[in-house]
C-alpha cells in the first residue's frame, strides 16, 4: 500500500485552477521528485499534501486514511511529515540546536536532555554539530538548509517534503545540500521533493513526476525524462533547465 496516494486532487485559487486533477502515489522508502515549469502547481501540491493549503476537491490518502475528510487531526498528520522550505524558514531567534529541539520538546514532549541528544546525533549526521550554537544569521545558505533538513528529520517523520531545497543557493552551497539529501535517499528515507534542479533530481529520486498546468503528464526515471522525451513540453523544459546549468 502506498504511504501517500493522491486521487484527482484539485485546487482552485480565485477562480484559477492551480491543480486540475493530480494523481500520484508515494511508497514507503521511495523518493520522488516533482518537476515542471514555474506555476505548474508543484509547491501547491506539496502544501496541499500536509494541508497547509486546503484542497478544493479530490482525495489524499495518507497511511490509509483520507486526510481531506473533515475532522482529521491536522497537527498529528503534520508531525508525520517533515517539511523543508525553499527559504529555510529557520526560527531566527533560536540557535541551530534550539531550532532542532523546539519541535522535539513541544510536540514530541521530549525532555530537554533527550532532545539535545537527538539533535546532536542528527546534526552530526549532516556535519552541522560545530554550528549548533550559531544563530541562522550566522550561517551560510547551505548551512541554513542543512539545519532545516535536520530540524525536519529529527522529528522522525514518515516522509520528508522538500520544497525547492536548493533554489535559493549558489552552486557550491547547492552541492552541499544535494549531498545531504542524497545521503537521506541512500538511507531509504521516504521523500517527496519539488525542484527545478535536474542535478538534485537525478541524485535523490527513484522517479520523477513531471507536472504541467496543474496535472501530472509523465512519471519516469531521470534519464528517460531528461533527454529527448517524446512529449515536447517535457523536452522543452529539460532542454532549458539543463542548458542553463
Amino acid at each position: 500500500m502506498a504511504l501517500i496516494e493522491v486521487k484527482n486532487l484539485i485546487k482552485n485559487f480565485d477562480g484559477k485552477n492551480i491543480l486540475r486533477g493530480v494523481n500520484m502515489e508515494l511508497h514507503e522508502g521511495r523518493s520522488k521528485v516533482v518537476m515542471g515549469p514555474s506555476g505548474c502547481g508543484k509547491t501547491t501540491l506539496l502544501r496541499c499534501l500536509n494541508l497547509l493549503i486546503a484542497p478544493t476537491a479530490g482525495q489524499i490518502i495518507f497511511k490509509g486514511n483520507d486526510i481531506t475528510r473533515p475532522g482529521v487531526d491536522i497537527r498529528r498528520l503534520r508531525q508525520d511529515i517533515g517539511f523543508v522550505f525553499q527559504h529555510f524558514a529557520l526560527y531566527s531567534h533560536l540557535t541551530v540546536e534550539e531550532n532542532v529541539t523546539l519541535g522535539l520538546r513541544k510536540i514530541k514532549k521530549m525532555k530537554k536532555k533527550d532532545a539535545v541528544e537527538k539533535a546532536t546525533y542528527e546534526l552530526e549526521r549532516v556535519g552541522m554539530f560545530d554550528h549548533r550554537n550559531k544563530y541562522p544569521a550566522q550561517l551560510s545558505g547551505g548551512q541554513k538548509q542543512r539545519a532545516a533538513i535536520v530540524r525536519a528529520l529529527a522529528m522522525d517523520p514518515a516522509v520528508m517534503f522538500l520544497d525547492e531545497p536548493t533554489s535559493a543557493l549558489d552552486p557550491q552551497m547547492s552541492r552541499e545540500v544535494v549531498t545531504v539529501i542524497n545521503k537521506l535517499y541512500l538511507d531509504n528515507i521516504t521523500m517527496l521533493c519539488v525542484t527545478h534542479d535536474p542535478f538534485l533530481a537525478k541524485y535523490i529520486s527513484d522517479s520523477i513526476v513531471f507536472m504541467h498546468e496543474g496535472v501530472v503528464v509523465a512519471e519516469d526515471i531521470a534519464e528517460r525524462l531528461f533527454y529527448d522525451h517524446d512529449d515536447p513540453r517535457i523536452r522543452q523544459f529539460f532542454l532549458s533547465v539543463i542548458d542553463h546549468r
Binding site: Q79, A89, L90, Y91, S92, Q138
Partner: protein, 217 residues
C-alpha cells in the same frame, strides 16, 4: 543652602519618580501586550474597540487623563488613590503606543517561520509563545526604550495629584527659598541621572537578549 544639599533634598523625591515610572512601564507593557494579542484575533468588534482605545489615548494629553481619573471619577463615586491614578493614566497612554510598537514588530516576524512552525505541527498558542513573542519583544526594544523614557518624562505630572516626587519637592523648595534656578537645575540633573540609569539598564537587557541578524539596529 548649598547646591549639594538641594540635590539631596530633591533626590528624596526621586524614589517616587522611579516607582511611578516602573509601575507605569509594567502597566503599559501589560496593556500594550494584551492589546497586541487581542488584535491578532482579527475579530471585527474587538478591532474596533482596540482602534478606538488607541486613537483616544494617543490623542488626549496624559494630564487630562490623569485629572479625569483622579478628579473626575470621584464624581461618579469612584475614588482612585493618587499613585494608582498616575499608574493607570500613564499605563493606558503608554499601552496605546506600545500596542502599535508590538503590532509592527509582530508584522515583522517572518511568515515563512510561522508557516514552518505550523507545518511542524506546533499549536497556535505554541507558535505565538515560542516564535512570535520572543521575536516581537526583541524587535520592539528600541521602540520600548523610547516609550519608557517618555513615561519618565511624564512623571512630573504626579505632583499635580500630590505624589511627593522630584517636581513636587522642587516646587516646595523653590517657594520656600526663591532659588528657582539652582533648584530646577538640580531637578534636571536628577532626571538626567535617572534617565541615564534606565538607559544603561535597557542597554544591558538589550545586549543580553541580542541575537545576530534579528534586532532592529
Amino acid at each position: 543652602m548649598t547646591f549639594w544639599k538641594i540635590l539631596i533634598i530633591l533626590a528624596e523625591g526621586a524614589g517616587y519618580t522611579i516607582l511611578v515610572t516602573i509601575a507605569a512601564m509594567v502597566a503599559g507593557l501589560a496593556v500594550g501586550l494584551l492589546t497586541a494579542v487581542l488584535s491578532r484575533l482579527h475579530r471585527k468588534y474587538v478591532d474596533i474597540f482596540l482602534d478606538v482605545y488607541k486613537y483616544i489615548f494617543r490623542s488626549i494629553p496624559v494630564l487630562v487623563i490623569l485629572f479625569l481619573v483622579y478628579f473626575g471619577l470621584p464624581g461618579i463615586g469612584i475614588r482612585v488613590p493618587p499613585f494608582l491614578s498616575m499608574v493607570v493614566s500613564l499605563g493606558l497612554v503608554s499601552g496605546a503606543y506600545l500596542a502599535e510598537i508590538f503590532r509592527g514588530a509582530m508584522a515583522a516576524v517572518s511568515n515563512n517561520e510561522m508557516m514552518a512552525a505550523e507545518a511542524a505541527g506546533l499549536k497556535r498558542t505554541q507558535i505565538f509563545s515560542h516564535i512570535i513573542l520572543p521575536q516581537m519583544f526583541r524587535m520592539s526594544v528600541p521602540g520600548m526604550i523610547n516609550e519608557f523614557t517618555s513615561i519618565l518624562k511624564y512623571t512630573p505630572f504626579a505632583y499635580t495629584v500630590g505624589i511627593p516626587e522630584i517636581m513636587k519637592a522642587a516646587m516646595t523648595l523653590a517657594a520656600m527659598t526663591l532659588r528657582g534656578l539652582e533648584i530646577y537645575l538640580a531637578a534636571g540633573i536628577i532626571y538626567f541621572v535617572i534617565y541615564k540609569g534606565f538607559i544603561m539598564m535597557f542597554a544591558a537587557v538589550e545586549k543580553k537578549f541580542h541575537i545576530p541578524g534579528l534586532l532592529v539596529e
